[in-house]
Symmetry: D2
Subunit: 327 residues, 4 copies
């Protein structure tokens, strides 16, 4: 059980603020779709929105483009009740990242990304406020924010502040290969960041990338031992349809299953999981309870058309958990 | 009257192949729109589509991204009957340029561009086929293709081939400031290209940019004299609602008015004009007749939601010209 | 015979201002040399220095770094009597290009270049003065100035001014592969520039590069015909030890031999040739006389340690021509 | 006292391998110098050379250009007896960094750097051998290697290996502002590296840069406390003419003075200090003895013309220490 400080704000997201353009015509290749619906997207944005939907008070540290897309994002976050006082506006002519989604079938989804010259990766170290980091119980770091400078340096400054003030850091690995120059580069910065985080959540494949330069190879026990030997108190390794495993510093291990769902698309599962999992931790639940709550949330989002808009309420999740059994 | 060679193909477009994402909800800022419809776009693409719609046989020299957007563009051009044998697919991971359009009111429209790392500007000199350039009566050059390397060099190679084989070059200035580093750079390359073109079409403001390093300042007569002193046989200067003026090498001057329209948005007027104007020249009409046909086409497109899809047929244009009087 | 206007200044060099660092210990690989002597270098700098040494009045349009190297160059040019009023100082932190020379044997010399972030290629169009271009009989353009932006655009602006004011342009092709992205790119910009020049001087290999996109292949007659069909009045093709050929617009052809020399190194031959050749043209000599004078000058420079410092006087050249017979 | 493992090799340098071009004519501005002498340079190269001169067995992990400069560096290191089996040759066309030195007076020296596209900063993570790092008692890290990717990532991989195998890491801050984008960026990566080092050596000003995001401001005690709270066992803060202070984990503090010298130039003092200081630590001396030895070495190098060539032997240093008293 993670002990959080008493703070003004529950959770602050750090990193990507993007736009999803989801094809309205599904079950066909994007070459044949004609219309798209616009949503706020980006993993930490989705998680912050999900957290707020669950009743937490969320804030965000990020950067948006100085155009209609950037203003749309800020407006949307504010409508959700999320604090945007630390979302800054780029002045260099950068754009907002885009994700065009294609839903061929429930199992076969793909994303076409626009990630050149994006505002979110221009967040600078000087734009991270120590007081703001210190105002929250928990900082949610998404790995993509480490992909390039100056956002990469902004993350390390935020981690320094968080560690100093005992703001717990949840690191969602969120590895997106297209934003990185090489897997080696990812491994180096993921490792440097992970050593300063309190909770690390990722898929088995994401941990493998982070462990490129170590001898841990695909073994959950060794992975847990490696990262718990640094600051981490809790390591969660996700195995897709096979559920998740959690490892605590004292050796306690938990397992959690997956809730069956009427799958529309696979996007957003991880973000829904993370927001509900953080909710659970903040309630003082043990890792197993938090993981189950996360799994249920993921199950709901993958049955809906969007990611951010689709984030469930506590009631939604509880209803599912009461009516369905995890496998 | 421009004398065209007898050739297999009427017109080949050269340059930009993009996607327009037009807001479905109009008369509001893009911050408040939710859905977009996808169209093929880009000035020379629109002109080629417009020309084909008018019954000409069109081809294209260009480069598309190796993704769903690029494939959509090629599919669409082929459905229209346009020859895409010289549209090459990028292999570097470039994306397709995007234009999100916002229609606040008929007079107040804006475009949000995605132009970083776009495939169209990666067309290389070696990807321009001399035989293909030689197969057409006319090459349509859009100024944006000069905005950066290697597309810029590909344009000059295409002009060398066109001049050698007497393929007439129509240069639509199509000046888009956001794609250029400076107005000085634009002036240099527009000038170098214009000296090798047979027909030059642009707005008064576009000619002003091209004349940055000369003493011609906003005077149509001097502009005409300057460019007709090189290869050009015909110079068309557009003055928005005040119509167009055409100047021929022998001193003949023409004027043409504007057809009133139920304006929905201003996008696409220039492309519709250019395609119908080229159609007229290829029919052997004089510049006045071609300009009128161009104006009528423009009037139709600005009353419709898209650019490419909205390109009129000959019957559409003739109907308008019979029922309406140009001002 | 080229007819020059009556002007305040004889010749203005345009382009590269660099530093040569010549190994003092010769006939060994640079791995084994220990000391270097510093000279002003760069082809157009050498030509301007050579011209001034011959008694012409020379000026320069160029850009130097804001450091000891840049100041050394300007000081040296001024000491030679060259007008530096149009040599501007970079303010972006660019450096001066360097050429470390290695003299293994008279036949086997090589150069190690430092050409990243060099000041000379940052000359901007706005830094070219129309009045200054108009003040000279002749503008000496070195091809390397076309290698990248904004210097490339500055060259085209200078050519526009020169053509407008009938300042004769001598284009020394001076092709240096390491400064270019591709041979195709070179071919495109060399062609665009060559069409606007009055005298074109290059080796057979350099003309071959410029003719990448034409059908002329290694044939001097065709080369001459191609370029004389544009603005050029005189085309000089150099064949190394086999001497040079000159072609005039009216069909006159000249040949010139090579003066034997006690060769120390091959660097600087072309620059010595160009400066003496221009001297001859400005005296009203025919191309044959000018080429002979150029050959004799080249013969002197290749027997000396440096390029710029080694440029001969008229008396030096005349002495050689009286005592030696060209082959 | 640092406890080193028993290993095949004493010390491995990591990072910059450059060329110094020292003006032969001193006491004048570089604008007036004519000849330069070439030396191997770069802080970690100098330290490795200095260590080998003192009788240690040194190796190097680095990258050199594939040209005469790169080969000169490797040849020179080998002549000194340094192991170059882990010095790789760049294949991208990068150059060797240059430092032109100007000695106006003993107090007024400056360096003109060429650092664009340099080979040393292209060292990749995959080019760092775990076995090689594990073969040495000590790894010498110079801060400049952190200045850009991929060298930055290579450093972090080397630190991971060093920590894993208990190869002690000496971090010489060696802050060179011109190689960094911002002081914030330096602070971020210096901090991340310093947390993984065993000995940290720098000037007061260099520690200030590293502490940009902390509250330690110019206070040696606080600086020592901050870094000793991580892995470091020894922190050495240099105060120029006022000598150095050393802080150990157990609270022990040492001071060391400066040996008077007939100063020719200030370059190389830090590198001479570091090599002799490391020598002392490897002998098992306490920090005070090692610092004194370092100061004496520095005093010798600043009285000589070069840095690398000038590195003293143990006998040289001992002689000075016997005949002179530190202040």
């Amino acid at each position: 059980m993670i002990q959080f400080e008493t703070r003004e704000r529950d959770v602050i997201g750090l990193g990507r603020l993007c736009i999803d353009l989801n094809a309205n015509e599904i079950h066909r290749p994007m070459e044949e779709t004609r219309t798209f619906t616009k949503y706020v997207g980006g993993s930490p944005a989705n998680i912050a929105i999900g957290a707020q939907r669950l009743g937490l008070s969320a804030g965000f540290i990020g950067k948006v483009s100085d155009d209609q897309m950037g203003r749309y994002i800020v407006n949307y976050l504010e409508e959700q009740g999320i604090d945007t006082s630390n979302v800054v506006t780029d002045k260099t002519g950068a754009v907002t990242g885009l994700a065009f989604t294609e839903i061929l079938s429930p199992e076969d989804c793909s994303i076409l990304m626009y990630r050149d010259n994006v505002a979110d990766l221009l967040l600078a170290p000087s734009e991270v406020s120590e007081a703001y980091v210190a105002s929250a119980k928990c900082l949610l770091l998404s790995g993509t924010a480490l992909a390039s400078s100056p956002s990469r340096e902004a993350v390390f400054v935020a981690l320094t502040y968080a560690n100093k003030h005992n703001t717990k850091v949840v690191f969602d690995l969120d590895y997106r290969p297209y934003t990185w120059k090489s897997m080696e580069e990812t491994a180096v910065y993921y490792r440097l960041a992970a050593e300063k985080c309190d909770v690390i959540v990722g898929t088995r494949e994401e941990f493998d990338v982070m462990e490129t330069f170590s001898e841990v190879k695909g073994d959950d026990q060794q992975t847990a031992r490696e990262w718990l030997s640094h600051q981490a108190e809790l390591v969660v390794i996700k195995h897709g349809q096979d559920g998740s495993k959690a490892y605590e510093k004292d050796g306690t291990t938990y397992r959690s299953g997956v809730y069956p769902s009427n799958v529309l698309k696979t996007f957003g599962a991880g973000d829904a999981y993370a927001s509900a999992f953080i909710y659970g931790l903040l309630q003082g639940w043990n890792a197993e309870q938090a993981m189950s709550f996360g799994s249920a949330s993921a199950s709901i989002v993958i049955s809906r058309h969007s990611c951010s808009e689709a984030m469930p309420t506590v009631a939604d999740i509880e209803e599912l958990m009461q009516t369905t059994t995890a496998k």
